[in-house]
């Protein structure tokens, strides 16, 4: 765990970690495109799920939809103090 600790508490290494993460995301998205367009390994049930990089695109859309729905729409409507029912 000391290695992990050094990684997380050193801003220099943290920056590197973030870069590796974004590079990984781009790499996976490119592979997704590759599988569908060049290798023709994929098949879709619908018109949309066979599109290049469907997983990456839908992941970004889903994440944003859920965060906006939860934190910006429902949270202001439904959040109360912890003692609300007491």
């Amino acid at each position: 765990m000391n290695g992990l600790r050094r990684l997380l508490e050193d801003p220099q290494r943290m920056k590197l970690l973030k870069r590796v993460f974004f590079a990984g995301a781009v790499f996976v998205a490119l592979l997704e495109v590759l599988v569908v367009t060049v290798l023709h390994l994929g098949h879709g049930y619908f018109w949309f799920d066979g599109l290049p990089a469907f997983g990456s695109l839908y992941g970004l859309i889903s994440g944003v939809i859920i965060i906006i729905a939860a934190k910006f729409i429902f949270y202001p409507l439904l959040s109360r103090k912890e003692e609300h029912y007491d």
Binding site: M1, G55, V64, I66, S79, E82
Partner: protein, 589 residues
């Protein structure tokens, strides 16, 4: 030789011994009893067992087929892990409640008719509530009563439906219900079932009750109630279209609430709702692949959800809180718990090489195969949200994030062993999916590990993470409570209490109470006056009178009791003569 031993009977009967065992013997007994039930399930052959006649109906306690066996395996397996996790608990009440709860869940699984099903269904609610009450705090007592009231309501719907169903068909056997679709009996039974599956709007009991349960109790509760409901839905309501819609909505509903939630165990409770949504949706689609997916997902879910509750429970046990706003930086002192929790998190999100991947994708492919784009998109959205709120949000704010300054260590060894065991099963199923597919109700010819599928999942998770990083500041958990559908009955109950407190209590106190008071007061005064009169007039004078009488009687006796021997001899002689005369003239004659 007994032909078939009901594993539920083994557990419920075994609970009777718990009060007499202590120390290491009890610690060995509990997991061994659960393991014996697991072995019992592994050894039993499909068939119908333990049928008996009751009031002209055939009761079936043992319907053993592929579907019931799948659930029985995972119920007993989860029991073994749960009892290892609970080994350090001294409170016997919890052990007894857990055994009866587990046994009655198995009773539901093996029930072949509605009577037996209903009895075990109710027993499940009434035994599990003790896992909440065992916390012995005012909050848990109140939450337990709400839990019980909701389940009693569901049980009554079920009972009403069963009665109508028997009235219409004359049969109590519990089988596929699609022939009766749309009827009142069908709807009532369905309501009873989906209440236990926590389908919105009948969902709020779950996130209300589970976080109020004990650390170890919540692990058991996460396994049985909702998944026995999934089982009965598979058995009776496969292909009911309403369930497809409800399940797809429910999967996203749970995720959105989980993203808002601050209490770690409540967050996980909302994920039960979301994950059961996948199963309910698969059941609603009703194709062989979708139902297989629902059953496989139930199996995988019980293990990884138990693992997540164990991880959150370990944090609660060691740190005293599981509110994300009060935690952070625990990876330094609880690295093993963090790793196990992450395995559970990746499993529930459906990351490749984890159990959730091989089971969840089957349900989603089932939706795709039926060209159901709504279910497909909603379930994929929920997968992304699961990754977001458990793997990213909960792990980050609990184990990483800003340092909370809490001085904690790893939990007791037995907790770590239980989490290790569950982690192993999650990874094993992820790597060897055929081990799970071989147990499914329909033949499963499904390959989860295609290049497209694995990459789609990885892409989904990577880019969901990017969304998390973009909105990180907004996602910081804050203390608070989020209203759910329990608002309606909790507010209604409060309004009812206001009516009770003000007008009814006033009427009761000022009119009814006063009237009773007056009546009772006059009655008591009357009676006491009579008693008083009797006491002074009769009892008190009688005491000296009795004493005087006694002394007079004594003086009289003294005349006979002279103390001289010849007086007594004379009396005896007279007596003998009198007896002789009596004998001769009466009997002799």
């Amino acid at each position: 030789m007994i032909e078939w031993l009901h594993p539920g009977l083994l557990l419920i009967g075994g609970a009777a011994l718990v009060p007499f065992l202590r120390g290491r013997l009890l610690q060995a007994y509990l997991p061994l009893l659960a393991a014996a039930a697991l072995l019992d399930c592994i050894l039993m052959a499909p068939g119908t067992y333990a049928t008996l006649q009751f009031l002209g109906y055939d009761l079936t306690f043992g319907r053993v087929d592929r579907l019931s066996l799948l659930f029985a395996y995972v119920f007993t397996l989860a029991g073994v892990i749960g009892f290892v996790y609970a080994l350090h608990v001294k409170d016997r009440l919890q052990h007894i409640a857990a055994l009866i709860y587990m046994g009655s869940a198995l009773g539901v699984i093996f029930a072949g008719d509605y009577f037996v099903l209903f009895i075990f269904w109710e027993l499940m609610a009434f035994s599990s509530v003790f896992l909440i009450w065992a916390n012995r705090t005012p909050e848990s007592v109140a939450a337990g009563f709400r839990y019980l009231l909701v389940h009693v309501f569901g049980g009554l719907c079920l009972l009403g439906g069963i009665m109508l169903h028997i009235g219409q068909t004359g049969s109590i056997s519990f089988d596929a219900m699609h022939a009766f679709a749309g009827g009142t009996a069908f709807v009532l039974i369905l309501i009873g079932f989906i209440l236990n599956a926590a389908v919105p709007p009948l969902n709020a009991w779950l996130p209300d009750a589970y976080p109020a349960a004990t650390v170890t109790g919540a692990v058991f509760m996460s396994a049985y109630t909702t998944k026995s409901a999934v089982y009965v839905l598979v058995r009776g309501f496969s292909g009911t279209e309403a369930l497809m819609w409800l399940g797809a909505i429910m999967a996203v509903y749970g995720v959105i609430y989980a993203t808002m939630e601050n209490n770690g165990r409540r967050l996980l409770a909302y994920h039960i709702i979301s994950q059961v949504g996948f199963m309910v949706c698969g059941i609603g689609i009703g194709s062989e692949m979708a139902v297989n997916g629902a059953a496989a997902h139930a199996f995988a879910h019980i293990i990884y959800k138990g693992l997540l509750f164990m991880g959150a429970g370990a944090v609660l046990y060691m740190a005293g809180t599981v509110k994300l706003s009060e935690l952070g930086g625990l990876y330094k002192t609880m690295p093993l718990t963090m790793i196990f929790f992450l395995v559970g998190g990746l499993s529930i999100a459906g990351a490749p090489l984890m159990s959730g991947f091989v089971s969840k994708s089957m349900t989603i492919s089932g939706a795709g195969e039926q060209h159901n784009s709504f279910a497909f998109l909603m379930l994929t959205l929920a997968s992304s949200g699961t990754f977001l709120s458990i793997v990213l949000k909960m792990t980050y704010y609990m184990f990483f994030g800003k340092n909370s300054g809490l001085q904690v260590t790893e939990p007791p060894k037995n907790m770590l062993v239980a989490m290790g065991l569950a982690s192993f099963i999650c990874i094993f199923i992820g790597i060897v999916p055929q081990s799970l597919y071989a147990l499914l109700p329909y033949p499963a010819d499904y390959a989860p590990y295609t290049a497209q599928h694995v990459l789609n999942s990885l892409g989904l998770f990577f880019f969901t993470s990017i969304g998390f990083i973009l909105f990180m500041k907004k996602l910081a958990p804050k203390p608070g409570l989020n209203l759910d559908t329990d608002w309606f009955y909790r507010r209604a109950a409060q309004a009812f209490m206001v009516v009770v407190r003000r007008p009814i209590a006033n009427f009761e106190y000022k009119v009814v109470g006063e009237a009773c008071d007056y009546l009772i007061r006059t009655m008591i005064l009357l009676v006491s006056r009579v008693v008083n009169h009797f006491e002074t007039e009769a009892v008190q004078p009688s005491a000296p009178a009795l004493a005087a009488g006694a002394s007079r009687f004594g003086a009289m006796l003294q005349r006979f009791q002279t103390g001289r021997v010849h007086d007594y001899a004379f009396v005896m002689a007279v007596g003998i003569v009198a007896l002789a005369v009596f004998y001769f003239f009466w009997w002799g004659g």
